[in-house]
């Protein structure tokens, strides 16, 4: 939620101020959205409203850009982002079962975030680790040669770690 003294917002405003000095400032919209996502993990509506006013770009246009690129998240993301590979190699090696395991264990669908805010589940296309198929990437780590059992152990491990903190 947006509060008056939000250090992230200050950072974002700095970025916007910089691009507004440049010619064709509109063309930096994507860069500003990247920055927003880097700061907030997704593109919050009230931040888009601020970008709209500060960059003088209608919200409907920003929304068009934000929804065009799969890269941009439109809802808050979980603490851990699980990308499950659905590429050909992984698929052949049983990615579908891994998907099922994850969906059941996390009780969410693709693209959703668990109620406790711990995990977000998204599909990916070939992570370039076909030799280890089937694979998932959790945050920046690849986990390969998965079985349903191995997958659910990894999830549980993350859960335990989160509890400890």
């Amino acid at each position: 939620m947006l509060t008056k003294d939000d250090p992230k917002l200050d950072q974002l405003k700095q970025t916007i101020d910089q691009v507004m000095q440049k010619p064709y400032s509109d063309s930096y919209l994507i860069a500003v959205l990247h920055k927003t996502q880097a700061l907030y993990g997704y593109l919050p509506e009230d931040i888009i409203n601020i970008i709209s006013v500060d960059m003088n770009i209608p919200t409907a246009h920003i929304w068009g850009v934000a929804t065009f690129y799969h890269y941009f998240n439109l809802t808050p993301q979980g603490q851990h982002r699980i990308a499950i590979c659905l590429g050909t190699a992984c698929y052949v090696k049983g990615a579908a079962q891994i998907v099922e395991t994850l969906k059941q264990q996390l009780k969410i669908d693709m693209g959703q975030t668990t109620a406790d805010g711990l995990f977000t589940l998204r599909p990916a296309r070939c992570l370039g680790a076909c030799g280890l198929a089937p694979v998932v990437m959790i945050d920046d780590t690849i986990h390969g040669e998965l079985t349903p059992k191995k997958m659910s152990d990894i999830v549980n491990k993350h859960r335990r770690q989160a509890k400890k903190k």
């Binding site: 888009i48 409203n49 709209s52 209608p58 409907a60 920003i62 929304w63 068009g64 929804t67 065009f68």
Partner: protein, 590 residues
């Protein structure tokens, strides 16, 4: 550069103007190439590919709406191959579209339907996945139905380039592309100004007005209520088109007759309240001119403009006249003064207004327009809705013997009908303000400089030694431009008129759909509607609002004087900033 080029269309040689598109050139030569996403007032999108033609030497078919003519070009518009390709394109559109023509709001008035027919599509070849969406009913004025959308983008460009509002954009991509407001938020909560121009340019029923006809038919059958109706100027100048008449016929007397046959007990004329508005607004202007209040004063009749003011231009709220619109003034007068005179319990009165406008529906539900805890205008229907009701009730509109409006709220001066065309409110206000201020009669009452369809019009008048500069803008994009001028030069004008729709109310979002051989917002058609209104002015023996005897009587019997206490209670209002704040599109066509 050469002025003309020689081209061949379908084996015949033509000399055409250089610098045109192939489509424009073909139009002149008598070949109407089918089209969908193209509109002459909007930027060229080249999205639908319906307008493809064959150009000798080109590997692929070209979109004629986006392709310039060049010397020696050889074009084929109607070969078997091109006909088939074009038909396939339209067929694919149709196949991703609901199959519900016979229950659709735009049945027999739909460009897609006409196009499919003209392409010779008589059966469906492709049965694939079809998009499904819910209707968005959140706006009191405009209904969004993305399921009917064929992504021609005319609404998006209209909203962006002409209106500058940019409430609509494309979201997602590929098969999932949808035209929607930001955040896919309810349309009624978006920055939309409810002007309804998306409806005017939509080829299908992806945008329609919020339909109130069923509710009205039910009310008309309720014997406990006394049903009163009043109609806006621009309605009478356009409704004939819905019955196959040429644009520009004044149908006020047939409309009055039809409204009685529909079951209304009293048929009044919103034009009466236009005169009343001028009394109040003209007086308010003189107050401001004498240092009491901000200048320039900006008109307030147009609800689309008021919505845009509150969302996009809150810095001008103090400049906008506090006068309610003629519609709201009229309904208030009906429910107070008229009710009293006719000895009717106002609770039994059901007041309907017929407007060329969708935004009026949103005006009617604003909480400030209430009286005794009820809406002052109970229901608003558009010109289109009224035309449909007349047809649905089996009333022979064309052959009806005309009937006059009811007294006393049916009388108006010549200054009232011109409210329906851009510049008209200003012209009417000047006629009265001049006389109120100088005590002399203004001789030259037709203000040519602020007539016509130029985006921003200006004039200077001399009122008793003071030079008064006025400006008029129509279309919200032109309105935004005019406000930008004012932001830089705040003293440039004294009085400003802004209307949301191109051409003013004659081009309103609730006006009849174009007929088979015309296009939405065709300037010739708007001009004919405007001419009808100017004709009414010229044909009236009373041409100044303050000379309307019934208005004079209303002041004597009820209101006292313009801007008096009673007026303030019944005829004036206030504005409030809205969020989210709107940002004017920079794609406004210059």
């Amino acid at each position: 550069m050469k002025e003309t080029v020689n081209i061949t269309i379908n084996g015949k040689a033509y000399e055409v103007q250089a610098g045109q598109t192939l489509m424009q050139a073909a139009d002149v030569c008598g070949y109407h190439i089918p089209r969908l996403c193209y509109h002459p007032d909007l930027s060229i999108e080249g999205a639908c590919r319906v307008c493809i033609v064959e150009v000798a030497g080109m590997k692929n078919y070209v979109a004629s709406c986006a392709y310039p003519v060049t010397e020696g070009m050889v074009v084929t518009t109607n070969s078997t191959a091109i006909r088939r390709a074009r038909r396939d394109i339209v067929e694919l559109l149709v196949d991703n579209h609901p199959q519900d023509c016979h229950t659709c709001e735009r049945d027999s008035n739909c460009e897609l339907q006409r196009l499919a027919f003209a392409m010779g599509i008589r059966k469906r070849h492709f049965e694939g996945e079809r998009k499904t969406f819910e209707q968005d009913l959140s706006s009191p004025s405009v209904v969004r139905d993305p399921e009917k959308c064929i992504l021609c983008g005319r609404c998006v460009r209209m909203c962006e380039e002409i209106q500058g509002i940019h409430a609509l954009g494309y979201a997602n991509r590929g098969f999932n592309t949808v035209v929607m407001p930001a955040y896919n938020m309810p349309f009624g909560e978006s920055v939309c100004s409810q002007c309804g121009q998306c409806i005017n340019v939509c080829p299908t029923a992806a945008f329609t007005e919020h339909n109130d006809t069923q509710a009205l038919f039910e009310t008309l059958n309720d014997p406990a209520l006394i049903k009163v109706v009043h109609i806006a100027p621009a309605v009478r100048a356009a409704i004939g088109e819905s019955f196959g008449l040429e644009p520009g016929q004044n149908m006020e007397h047939q409309t009055a007759a039809a409204l009685r046959r529909l079951g209304f007990d009293y048929v009044f004329d919103t034009q009466f309240a236009a005169d009343l508005t001028i009394m109040e607004e003209g007086s308010e202007f003189l107050e401001r001119l004498q240092g009491r209040g901000k200048l320039p004063m900006i008109t307030s009749c147009c609800p689309g403009w008021i919505n845009a003011l509150e969302t996009f231009h809150p810095d001008f709220m103090d400049h906008v006249s506090s006068c309610k619109s003629p519609m709201s003034m009229m309904s208030n007068v009906i429910k107070t003064h008229f009710a009293e005179k006719a000895d009717i319990d106002p609770a039994r009165l059901f007041v309907v207004s017929v407007m060329p406008c969708t935004a009026k529906k949103s005006e009617a539900v604003r909480p400030e327009h209430t009286l005794h805890g009820r809406r002052s205008t109970d229901l608003v229907i558009t010109t289109r809705e009224l035309a449909w009701m007349i047809k649905s009730a089996g009333i022979d509109f064309i052959h009806l013997e005309g009937e006059p409006f009811d007294k006393p709220l049916g009388l108006s001066s010549g200054a009232a009908p011109i409210f329906g065309v851009t510049g008209g409110v200003m012209e009417a206000a000047v006629r009265t303000a001049y006389e109120l201020y100088t005590g002399e009669t203004l001789i030259d009452i037709e203000l040519e400089a602020i007539r016509g369809f130029k985006g921003i019009k200006e004039a200077s008048l001399n009122i008793d030694g003071i030079t008064v500069n006025v400006a008029v803008a129509h279309g919200l994009g032109n309105g935004a431009r005019l406000l930008d001028i004012l932001r830089k030069a705040p003293d440039r004008y004294h009085f400003v008129e802004i209307m949301a729709c191109p051409g003013g109310c004659v081009g309103g979002g609730g006006q009849p759909y174009p007929t088979v051989n015309s296009i939405p917002l065709d300037e010739g058609c708007l001009q004919q509607r405007a001419d009808a209104l100017y004709g009414m002015d010229r044909g009236n023996t009373i041409r100044r609002s303050h000379d309307n005897p019934e208005v004079q009587r209303l002041y004597k019997e009820c209101l006292g004087r313009p801007l008096g206490e009673k007026s303030h209670e019944l005829l004036h209002t206030r504005y409030a900033q809205k969020s989210p704040q709107g940002i004017v599109s920079r794609k406004l066509t210059q």
